[in-house]
């Protein structure tokens, strides 16, 4: 019984950053931005949160700063893709390198040591629980916003047919930037959870590809917030299961690879008639 409770708790902890990041992916892709900089967003947020908590002694300020860092990084993608006509994939790759290099460099500048930060004041168990609940709440909230509000309708239209949105008198570029800002905030929450929720340090490479697993969850969830959150939860359970099965001799690499293999399988369409938004990743003219 204790074993089961431990497994469920670990599932929630492992799933929460994935849910936040997957929701970020959904918002961006539904608006037409394929955000491969989610990984960088998580990294930037996780680092900034720890750095600010270290400097101010306040994990709440760290949380706020982390969210802002995620927003800033993803907004850069939105602005680059819509105002400067930079290809989304190229910009995303650049931002990921920027975040990886910037945080590794930042560790030395802020903490005077490479590799990992010292322990800082974290959000603690109550904060961790609040963020877990918030992740699920955000999934329902985002689903409602996309389905039932005019803003959600316009955002989805930007991902399907930006020209039509323009004809209706709304600037699709602004909507796409807005989507990356909202997505950045969500990714920021995921990053903060990793460093100040689950742990109390930042270490190099701690995001470990979660931004890419999130993209897989988006495909599996068929580009809906609830679907992506469910897929992220399943990937979180896989990740928790890894610790159980490793004792039984199953290679941990195989378990770690499952979400990515699942994403490849999803690309073949076996998960059903999953279809990306028509203008997902497609740059706009003019």
């Amino acid at each position: 019984m204790d074993e089961l409770r431990g497994f469920l708790a670990l599932t929630l902890i492992k799933a929460t950053p994935l849910i936040f990041a997957a929701l970020a992916g959904v918002v961006c892709e539904r608006a037409g931005i394929l955000n491969i900089a989610l990984e960088g967003g998580l990294t930037a947020a996780a680092f900034t949160a720890v750095a600010v908590s270290f400097g101010t002694g306040s994990p709440l300020l760290g949380l706020a700063a982390g969210v802002l860092a995620g927003m800033a990084l993803c907004a850069l993608l939105g602005v680059a893709a819509t105002r400067f006509h930079v290809d989304q994939i190229v910009a995303g790759t650049g931002l990921n390198l920027l975040a990886a290099g910037g945080t590794a460099f930042g560790l030395v500048v802020v903490f005077g040591q490479p590799g990992a930060s010292p322990e800082v004041r974290a959000l603690g168990t109550p904060g961790e629980c609040v963020l877990i609940v918030a992740a699920f709440a955000c999934a329902f909230l985002l689903q409602a916003v996309l389905d039932r509000t005019p803003w959600g309708l316009r955002l989805r239209a930007c991902g399907e047919n930006p020209q039509a949105v323009r004809s209706a008198g709304v600037d699709p570029r602004g909507m796409r930037v807005a989507a990356t800002v909202v997505g950045g905030a969500l990714a920021g929450l995921g990053g903060v959870f990793l460093s100040l929720g689950e742990l109390d340090i930042y270490s190099d490479g701690m995001t470990a590809g979660r931004g890419f697993i999130a993209l897989a969850a988006v495909i599996f969830g068929r580009w809906t917030p609830l679907g992506a959150a469910a897929a992220a939860l399943a990937f979180g359970a896989l990740s928790a299961l890894q610790f159980v099965l490793q004792r039984a001799g199953v290679p941990s690499e195989l378990m770690q690879a499952l979400p990515y293999l699942a994403a490849l399988a999803a690309l073949t369409g076996i998960a059903g008639r999953a279809r990306a938004p028509a203008a997902d990743g497609v740059p706009m003219e003019g």
Binding site: V86, V90, G101, V108, Y260, L264
Partner: protein, 323 residues
């Protein structure tokens, strides 16, 4: 502008930017050994960069050069350690194994794209991580070299090592292969029907289709060949530098390659120069860290900035000219 930001970053780390740049250049070009290491880095970057550019020209995003490099290196390492035949037979087989492995890895993404219309960006991103996990599993587990401390396979016999080009350095003839490949690709793009079909598929897919170019087949071919180029690069690192496969084969060459390909404007010959410039950054950064106390990660940061800045310029400039 990039230089200014790099200087600011160095100052932030408490170092004199001039000392930093001096250490960087000294570390990259300050002697035979340093030049050798810079050219080793250049070679290691050149192959994945050409791979990225090749797919790019066909309108495909190969974000997976990193994974193809790793799988190519893994295949080369396995074949190389198993072969005990003379070098002139073993070396071509090792390099072919690398190209084959990388090509197969790229081909998975190409097939998903060709057969199911699956997004090659997502596919190659996932394949990168699967490659790293697979290599890690094999090299730490079943294929771990007896007695080795690191995560690596058994070594290649000395007869299978690539001949050294510059005495007293680690620079092998792989550099010549890279230069030859760049020349070959430049010729293919400019002078052959195949190169024309690739560029047409990339620049104007609708028109290419009407002209009778089989787009799915082109996508499969382009991704496979792109992967083979990256995989060949992985094999040259194994046969020329490490003399075994190690999971730390690549410090992100496959991602930096995207910056190199953009800086080189997707032109194979300019990419050679761009790879050299990035090779200086790569090999000089360690000296910079050691002597000017600037963390080497500044280089990664600057590379990320370079991608953003260059991509911006590349796509904005023609518009500015038209306006």
């Amino acid at each position: 502008m990039l230089l200014t930001i790099a200087a600011a970053a160095m100052a932030l780390a408490g170092a004199n930017p001039l000392d930093g740049f001096a250490a960087l250049l000294r570390g990259a070009l300050g002697g035979t050994h340093q030049i050798g290491e810079t050219l080793v880095a250049t070679t290691s970057l050149l192959f994945p960069s050409l791979a990225v550019a090749f797919a790019f020209r066909a309108g495909l995003f190969n974000i997976g050069a990193e994974g193809q490099l790793v799988i190519g290196g893994l295949c080369a390492g396995l074949v190389g350690a198993a072969l005990t035949v003379p070098g002139w037979i073993a070396i071509p087989l090792i390099l072919f194994a690398g190209a084959f492995g990388g090509g197969a890895w790229g081909g998975i993404a190409g097939a998903l794209r060709a057969r199911f219309g699956g997004n090659e960006v997502i596919a190659t991103l996932m394949l990168n991580i699967i490659a790293a996990l697979l290599a890690n599993y094999l090299v730490v587990g079943p294929l771990h070299a007896a007695g080795a401390t690191g995560a690596e396979t058994a070594g290649l016999p000395e007869s299978s090592w690539l001949p050294i080009l510059l005495p007293d350095t680690r620079l092998s003839i792989a550099l010549l292969f890279g230069l030859a490949l760049a020349g070959l690709l430049a010729f293919v793009f400019r002078r052959t029907v195949f190169g024309y079909a690739l560029r047409a598929a990339g620049d104007a897919p609708e028109a290419a289709k009407r002209a009778g170019i089989d787009l799915p087949r082109t996508a499969l071919l382009a991704m496979t060949l792109s992967g083979a180029i990256a995989g060949f690069g992985g094999a040259t690192i194994v046969a020329g530098v490490l003399h075994r496969f190690n999971v730390a084969l690549s410090p992100g060459y496959g991602f930096i390659a995207i910056a190199v390909a953009l800086v080189g404007d997707l032109d194979p010959l300019w990419i050679v120069l761009a790879a050299f410039a990035f090779g200086i950054l790569q090999s000089g950064s360690l000296t910079m860290q050691a002597f000017a106390h600037v963390p080497k990660d500044v280089v990664t940061f600057v590379e990320g900035l370079a991608i953003l800045a260059l991509a911006t310029r590349r796509f904005v400039a023609p518009r500015g000219a038209a306006a």
